[in-house]
């Protein structure tokens, strides 16, 4: 592979900015294309080869945004179908589970009843005061002709997601970036950045223009979904179904069932390695495989969230082999999300009834070179499908939109399984859009369109 042109790739591909604890995401609408182009041309965007100097700035555009900037429809059509159509196309909503209460018409942003989103400005800083300054600068930089449609705040829960579990542990290792890993879990650069060979040894389709720089090379697709998490609902449901025969709460069983649903304990320790209880020493352990360590789900249930999002070596037709890993590698995403909400609730507090009813959740962001084969596939075939890996009615217990009568969650064991019935929906979609995260050179090209 030719060396990745990191100076041209936006830095979000290379890092999630773990050291920049504060972030804000501005969603923008474009009224005046010329003003938007001038704004775009004036942005200083952080490149992947630069160490973030206390702050980072990224910008992504929807297909509607590219059109609005003046990009020819024929060129927009050369991007992937998913991106050109957008997240809210009707058949896509069915696949993504964006139906009933989750349907785009109820969304706070990105849906048909809210103003069209054209761009996202992602701002990162070391702490809240520094972020405040950065946001201030950028708000001032938004000229007439551009509108801020939403300013999405994020929260720092010390790397825990709102249900209280460590998150972001298992990320794909990408060839050409600094970290090295074993071949089973190391992905080609082209899985995440256009213009390089992907896991099939091919170049993912992209618009190729005579203009230099190429429009899509060194860019990638960014999926953004605002997911509200019903934290009190989650813990109260678990509390309800794990009570002692006398009706009192059984916190140990409750917390164990939650861990079974997640596939990791709150510290992050994976059940596949720590089946009996949380083990902070294994908090970041990621070197395990299901077929070898836990083929039937006695430790980590088949339907557990992390087993579905990353089945590792357990996929047909030959579980436990390199072939199974190879299939798994074609369906990975690079997660860059941030939590939001006022405070992290403990399970006990969530159950207690005096928990404040603030909205909490995840600004889910992921990067991928092929939305259909990566984000959408994982979402549909692995998370939302109640039939995953031979199951019957078990959609993802944490994040899937349940069937109207509630799904089931099966906890396999060495003897006969335990089954939790009537699992309600704990996560709802509040907004979302497919963006393109262009290369830095391509941003300059877009800024000069029509000029």
């Amino acid at each position: 592979m030719s060396a990745p042109e990191l100076q041209d790739v936006q830095g979000l591909v290379a890092r999630g900015y773990g050291s920049l604890n504060a972030a804000r995401f501005l969603l923008l609408g474009i009224d005046d294309p010329a003003a938007a182009r001038a704004w775009l041309g004036g942005l200083t965007v952080t490149a992947a080869d630069a160490r973030p100097n206390g702050r980072a700035v990224h910008v992504a555009l929807t297909s509607a945004g590219l059109r609005r900037l003046g990009l020819d429809e024929a060129v927009v059509g050369l991007f992937s179908n998913e991106f050109a159509d957008g997240m809210t196309a009707e058949h896509r909503s069915r696949n993504l589970g964006d139906i009933a209460e989750n349907a785009p018409q109820h969304w706070d942003w990105g849906g048909p009843r809210t103003p069209e989103v054209h761009a996202a400005l992602l701002l990162y800083a070391r702490d809240e005061p520094a972020l405040g300054a950065l946001v201030g600068e950028h708000e001032a930089g938004v000229r007439p002709g551009l509108r801020i449609l939403a300013s999405l705040e994020t929260a720092d829960f010390d790397r825990r997601e709102p249900f209280g579990f460590a998150d972001g542990i298992s990320q794909p290792i990408i060839e050409g970036l600094s970290k090295k890993g074993p071949p089973e879990t190391t992905l080609r650069f082209g899985e995440f950045v256009l213009g390089y060979p992907n896991e099939y040894g091919r170049y993912t389709d992209q618009p190729l223009l005579d203009a230099r720089p190429e429009l899509a090379r060194n860019g990638t697709y960014l999926v953004f979904r605002q997911l509200r998490q019903d934290v009190t609902g989650f813990w109260r449901f678990l509390d309800e179904v794990t009570r002692h025969p006398d009706g009192s709460s059984d916190a140990r069983r409750r917390d164990r069932l939650a861990a079974k649903m997640v596939g990791r304990w709150p510290s992050g320790a994976p059940l596949a390695l720590a089946p009996d209880g949380d083990d902070p020493e294994r908090a970041t352990a990621n070197d395990f495989a299901y077929f070898h360590d836990d083929p039937y789900g006695a430790r980590c249930p088949i339907g557990a969230h992390i087993r579905r999002t990353n089945p590792r070596d357990s996929l047909d037709p030959k579980p436990g082999t390199g072939k199974s890993w190879a299939i798994n590698r074609r369906h990975r995403i690079l997660r860059r999300g941030r939590e939001y909400g006022d405070e992290l609730l403990t399970a006990d507090r969530a159950v207690s009834g005096d928990a404040p009813e603030h909205e909490r959740g995840l600004h889910f962001i992921c990067l991928n070179g092929n939305i259909a084969r990566q984000f959408e596939f994982v979402n549909d075939t692995w998370l939302n499908s109640p039939k995953f890996a031979g199951l019957y009615n078990d959609a993802d217990p944490l994040v899937a939109p349940s069937s109207p009568h509630g799904g089931t969650f099966t906890v396999q064991s060495d003897t006969i399984r335990e089954r939790v019935n009537g699992v309600p929906r704990f996560v709802s979609v509040k907004g979302g859009a497919y963006f393109f995260l262009p290369a830095i050179g391509a941003l300059r090209y877009l800024a000069r369109l029509g000029g």
Partner: protein, 418 residues
């Protein structure tokens, strides 16, 4: 017990009537049949069925091909019996549908209808059945058994803490004690002896014939390979993106049940060489699906319930139709990841397919070109019936295992199946 058969009817549509026929199909379903015009659920032994319309087209020599109406069904019954039921229970519906077609009688009698349908039957070149001999009745019965046993296990307090033998005893006692489940203690009917003998004769006969012809085949092989490579280098393989409107129309019909239908139509590459190659390949595929891949696994893909390949228009075109679990994206990925060679060996004889090497290499490994090729050749399946739309092939296989295990030695596998 009956074995499964495919039935395919193809009738040319009268000029100018395609639109009204499509409107009629639209009234019959939005991707899943709604039971109007033809009530598939009332017909015996139907696993899957579909009506599709092929638009008028011009072949590769620019000769016109008429629009046609296709009916495809996967059955537990002999074809004659199904046609009889169709005529008896859906005669009016048939008149409305085939009334758009050439030569359909004005006010047909029962016999005239039957005769029309028989005359428009087209033979399948190859047919895949997930599990030969497993009837619709068995599939539905075993699904009910599974659901009831799961509910029983949920309700039987403390069963989880018992040893496997006790669990098994309790489950068997429950089955025995429930008159609606007692049938499950008997094994499913086996395949007819006659059918098994015929299959055996076919298995051996074709193998022997191949053996006899082997010297000839060995002589022909190098010539074939030289010709093949020459064709493969010369054939055009343009990467054409399907129009977004087509993708939207197709996708809007999909993902309503656990399974989806897939129908795709393509031209055979021009010339005798490709036509003969494809004829032999489909014959070979039919042979291995009949005799090798007949127990739930099509060379690594376990999510296909039924599939067929049918020549149309004097072998100028082929239609491929299948019923599979999950989304089209996962189906296409399965093709590429698991049976790329099997796809290439057939479809690389099709016009516009990504370039293959030695008939089995490359081809669909060009992921996006292949996915675009499939979408571009897909035909909307507006009227589609599934007799068990909430069961995956894995569920069906597991249910069968649960029932079989009631009468066998206790194993860990059986406990895990519950």
């Amino acid at each position: 017990m009956p074995h499964q058969v495919a039935l395919t009817l193809v009738a040319p549509v009268r000029t100018g009537e395609v639109e009204s026929l499509k409107t009629l199909l639209e009234s019959m379903g939005d991707g899943v049949a709604n039971g109007s015009v033809v009530d598939f659920a009332a017909l015996d032994g139907v696993h899957f069925a579909r009506f599709i319309v092929l638009d008028e087209a011009r072949d590769l020599r620019d000769e016109p091909l008429p629009a046609s109406l296709l009916y495809m069904v996967d059955l537990d019954l002999p074809r004659e019996q199904h046609l009889g039921q169709l005529v008896d229970l859906a005669g009016d519906g048939l008149d409305r549908l085939f009334g758009h077609c050439e030569d359909y009688p004005e006010r047909p009698t029962r016999e005239q209808r039957l005769d029309y349908l028989r005359r428009h039957r087209v033979r399948e070149q190859a047919f895949y059945v997930n599990t030969v001999g497993r009837t619709r009745r068995q599939i539905r019965g075993e699904a009910e058994l599974h659901d009831k046993l799961e509910d029983f296990i949920d309700s039987a307090d403390g069963l989880r803490h018992k040893d496997p033998r006790t669990v098994r005893r309790a489950v068997c006692d429950h089955v025995e004690g429930d008159p609606s489940l007692r049938w499950a203690l008997h094994p499913p009917e086996g395949l007819d002896l006659g059918f098994r003998l015929r299959e055996l004769a076919h298995l051996v006969g074709v193998a022997l014939l191949t053996l006899v012809l082997l010297p000839l085949l060995l002589v022909a092989a190098p010539i074939f390979l030289v010709l093949l490579r020459r064709h493969e280098r010369r054939d055009q393989a343009p990467h054409v993106k399907p129009p977004p409107e087509l993708v939207q129309e197709l996708a809007a019909l999909e993902d309503q049940l656990v399974q989806n239908p897939f129908s795709a139509l393509g031209f055979v590459k021009p010339g005798l060489f490709r036509r003969m190659t494809l004829t032999v390949v489909l014959f070979a595929i039919d042979y291995v699906t009949r005799h090798v891949f007949n127990r739930g696994n099509l060379a690594g893909v376990k999510t296909i319930h039924f599939a067929r390949w049918v020549f149309l228009d004097g072998k100028r075109r082929v239609i491929f139709a299948s019923n599979y679990d999950g989304s089209l994206e996962s189906y296409m990925d399965d093709f590429i990841d698991k049976i790329a060679w099997g796809l290439n060996i057939v479809f690389s004889n099709g016009y516009g397919y990504p370039r293959a090497r030695w008939l089995i290499a490359d081809g669909c490994r060009d992921e996006l070109a292949f996915k675009d090729y499939l979408r571009l050749h897909q035909v909307p399946t507006r009227v589609w019936y599934s007799a068990y739309g909430q069961l995956s092939a894995a569920n069906i296989r597991n249910n069968e295992r649960i029932r079989a295990g009631l009468k066998r030695e206790l194993t860990d596998d059986w406990l895990r199946a519950l």
